[in-house]
Amino acid sequence: MSQNAGEKTDPRDLVISRVLRAPREALWRAWSEPELLKQWWCPRPWTTDVRAFDLRPGGAFHTFMQGPDGGTSDNPGSFLEVVPQSRLVFTSMLTAGWRPNTPWLGFTAIITMTDEGDGCRYVAQVMHPDIASCEQHEKLGFFDGWNTAITQLEESATAPR
């Protein structure tokens, strides 16, 4: 599954791909069970609170992250499409019951899972809309804090890959 060969992607989009030495069943569990999801959703020392998790189209998907310095990130949203072990689509642009939302960070993410060799492939396509509102958040220094958290994580983890 080579993606986007020759196809130009929108500069606002991200496509992230990984091959896992684990079956799709395990990958799906990590995404569909909130108790598992919260363990990897944000970088330590940040913690994730899954405030709502209703795994069906139009069902709530609401995460709340908290940092050690008192920083928080509240991310209500909803699922748009749920195909067990193969496809999960969610957005911050709508909350439960398809209610329109004006998020601080607008996005829709399409997660796809396919078999590959002994394991599986994970592809996340993250699309961003009119992101003018994000500038406000940028001014508040959110991304500085967030990127610091990521850097700390990367420094502390010498992940063999």
């Binding site: 500069p11 992230i16 363990q39 940028e138 967030w146």
Partner: protein, 122 residues
């Protein structure tokens, strides 16, 4: 004069078009006159000017007129701001995906003790 209150979304809109992307790349080598800049493009000048207008409005380029010659140049600060934003998002998702992969592989190993034994001593 340069528009400093430009929104990041306008920058992305401006860059979403292949012609405008190519114009920006071309200006990366330095300021050019509109005539020189338009030469490689198989496009009527009015259409080309429309692309320049979109780019100028987004704050990615600025133009100045001296006599009859209009010159275009890149505003590097604008590009780096948009790039920075998307780079921040990419960094977050890349790191999240790495944590997820590690987590899922560990989960799988814990559920498959025999496989783990065969593959690793501990």
């Amino acid at each position: 004069m340069a528009n400093y209150s430009v929104s990041v979304s306008e920058v992305f809109h401006a860059l979403a078009d292949p012609t405008r992307c190519a114009i920006v790349s071309s200006l990366g080598y330095g300021a050019q006159t509109v005539t020189a800049l338009a030469a490689p493009f198989d496009m009527a000048l009015p259409s080309f000017m429309k692309h320049l207008t979109v780019l100028e409005r987004s704050g990615l380029i600025r133009t100045s007129k001296l006599g009859r010659t209009r010159t275009c140049e890149l505003v590097p600060e604008t590009l780096s701001r948009a790039e920075k934003w998307i780079a921040g998002q990419r960094a977050m998702w890349e790191a999240r995906s790495d944590r997820m992969v590690e987590f899922v592989e560990r989960l799988h190993q814990q559920e498959q003790p025999h496989v783990t034994k065969r593959r690793r001593k501990d």
